[in-house]
C-alpha cells in the first residue's frame, strides 16, 4: 500500500522554466524537465553547462533563481553523489558510514554499513581512514554512502569517476538491482548507462 500523503502518479522531479544564476553568470536558463517515478535520466553536456547545478537544485542544496522545481522526495529518501565524497578524511570507512547511518535513523546501521562496504569491495579497508584512500576507493566509499539508506531518488554526479573496471562493474550491478529507483545522472560517458536510461537531457 502506498504511504498516505504521496501521489505515486506524479513525476518525481518536475521543473518548469527553471533558472539558476550565480551573480551575472547564467548556469541554467528556463529548463523544463519531468522525471517520472522509476525514470532514469542521463544529463549530458560540456563542462559548465549546469549538470552539477541541476543535481544540487534537485537535492535542495541550491535554491532556483527563477522558475519552479518540485521534487517528490524527502531529504532522507535522496541518495546524492557529488564530485566530493562527502566523508570525513580522519574517520575510517566504517565510522563514516556508521555516522551517516545514525543520522539517517537506520535501525541496523552497523550491519548495513558493513554490507555496503563489502558490496563495493571496501570491506578489507573498513578500518582505514578515508584520508588514506585512493581516488577510486573514495568513489567506492561515496557510492556506499549514497546507497546506504536505500534511497528512492538517486542524484549521481559522474558516478564512474575514478572507478576501475571492477568498481564500474560493481556500480552497474548495484544499479541493476535497484529497478524501482528514480535517477538523474550527470555524466560525460552516457554510453556506460545507455542500457538503463529511459531519457536523456542534453544541456548546452
Amino acid at each position: 500500500m502506498a504511504p498516505r500523503g504521496r501521489d505515486y502518479t506524479r513525476a518525481v522531479i518536475q521543473a518548469r522554466q527553471l533558472s539558476k544564476r550565480f551573480g551575472d553568470k547564467r548556469v541554467l536558463e528556463e529548463l523544463d524537465l519531468e522525471v517520472p517515478r522509476g525514470g532514469f535520466v542521463l544529463v549530458t553536456g560540456p563542462n559548465g553547462s549546469g549538470k552539477t547545478t541541476l543535481l544540487r537544485l534537485c537535492a535542495g542544496l541550491f535554491a532556483p533563481t527563477a522558475g519552479e522545481l518540485e521534487v517528490e522526495a524527502r531529504r532522507g529518501e535522496i541518495g546524492f553523489l557529488a564530485h566530493q565524497p562527502l566523508v570525513y578524511s580522519e574517520l575510517t570507512a566504517l565510522e563514516n558510514l556508521d555516522l551517516y547511518g545514525r543520522l539517517y535513523r537506520l535501525p541496523d546501521r552497523r550491519e548495513r554499513a558493513g554490507a555496503m562496504l563489502e558490496r563495493f569491495g571496501l570491506w578489507r579497508a573498513r578500518n582505514e581512514r578515508a584520508g588514506t584512500f585512493s581516488r577510486g576507493m573514495l568513489q567506492r566509499l561515496a557510492l556506499s554512502r549514497t546507497f546506504l539508506h536505500d534511497p528512492d531518488l538517486l542524484l549521481l554526479d559522474e558516478p564512474f569517476d575514478g572507478l576501475d573496471a571492477e568498481g564500474s562493474e560493481l556500480l552497474h550491478t548495484e544499479l541493476a538491482e535497484r529497478t524501482a529507483v528514480t535517477a538523474l545522472v550527470a555524466t560525460h560517458d552516457p554510453e556506460a548507462l545507455a542500457a538503463r536510461a529511459t531519457a536523456r537531457l542534453a544541456l548546452a
Binding site: 564530485h83 565510522e95 555516522l99 551517516y100 539517517y104 581512514r129
Partner: protein
C-alpha cells in the same frame, strides 16, 4: 535518549574524535593563549590595575576562541561533508548543537591551561571570574559556530569570520571583565546568562537557513 539528542551526541563525539586524531585545532589554541598571556605578562608595567590584567585575559580568550572557530568547519569544508549532513533527515539544528558542544569543549580545555597561567602571571582567580568564563564560553561557542558556518560557505572566510564575530564578542568582554572585577558581579553574570540565552536560541533557530542557500 531521544533521536535528536542521539544525533547531537554522535556529531559532537565525531568532532572530538576528529580533533583527537588530527590535533589541528587544540594545540594551536593552547599555544596561542599561553603565548598571549606570556607576552602580556612582560608587556604590562608592574603595578597595573586588576581591571587591565583581567581585560587582557578576556582578549586572550576571545582571540583563542576565534582561532578555534576558524577551524570549526574545516573538516566539513575539506570533503564537502556539510552537504551530506544537510541532506540527512535529522534536524539541521543538531549539526549546530553538536558543533557548538565540540567548540565549547576545546575552549574549556584551552582555559584549563590559560586560567592557571593567568593566576601565575597576574593575580589569583576568583570564583566570579571562573563563572564568567564558563558562561562566556557558551555564548561564544553558540554564536561563533553559527558565524563559522556562514563564513565556511564564503571564499573570504578567514576575513569574514573575525568581521562578524568580534563585534558580537564585545558584550562578552564587557560582561566578563565586569563580572571579574566588580564588587557585585551578579548583574554582569546575569547579563552573560541573557547573552547566552538570546544567542543560543537565535543560532539554534537560524542554522538551517545558514547551511541552505
Amino acid at each position: 535518549m531521544s533521536a535528536y539528542a542521539g544525533d547531537v551526541a554522535a556529531l559532537a563525539r565525531k568532532d572530538l574524535l576528529l580533533e583527537f586524531r588530527s590535533r589541528d585545532t587544540l594545540p594551536a589554541m593552547l599555544l596561542f593563549v599561553v603565548s598571549a598571556l606570556t607576552i602580556f605578562h612582560f608587556a604590562l608595567p608592574s603595578g597595573s590595575s586588576e581591571r587591565a590584567e583581567t581585560g587582557l585575559l578576556w582578549i586572550a580568550i576571545v582571540f583563542t576562541a576565534l582561532l578555534g572557530l576558524t577551524r570549526a568547519f574545516a573538516a566539513e569544508r575539506e570533503q564537502g561533508v556539510l552537504d551530506g549532513l544537510v541532506l540527512a533527515p535529522c534536524d539541521r539544528s543538531a549539526i549546530w548543537l553538536g558543533k557548538t558542544i565540540g567548540v565549547t569543549v576545546f575552549l574549556v580545555l584551552a582555559e584549563l591551561v590559560a586560567l592557571p597561567a593567568f593566576a601565575l602571571f597576574f593575580h589569583p582567580l576568583s570564583w566570579d571570574l571562573v563563572a564568567a568564563v564558563a558562561l562566556a564560553d557558551i555564548g561564544i561557542a553558540s554564536i561563533g559556530t553559527l558565524l563559522a558556518a556562514m563564513a565556511a560557505a564564503s571564499r573570504a572566510r578567514e576575513l569574514l569570520l573575525p568581521l562578524l564575530f568580534l563585534p558580537l564578542a564585545i558584550p562578552v568582554v564587557i560582561g566578563g571583565v565586569g563580572a571579574s572585577i566588580a564588587s557585585n558581579p551578579g548583574s554582569f553574570l546575569g547579563f552573560l546568562i541573557l547573552y547566552d540565552g538570546v544567542f543560543a536560541i537565535l543560532s539554534w533557530a537560524s542554522f538551517e537557513y545558514v547551511v541552505t542557500e
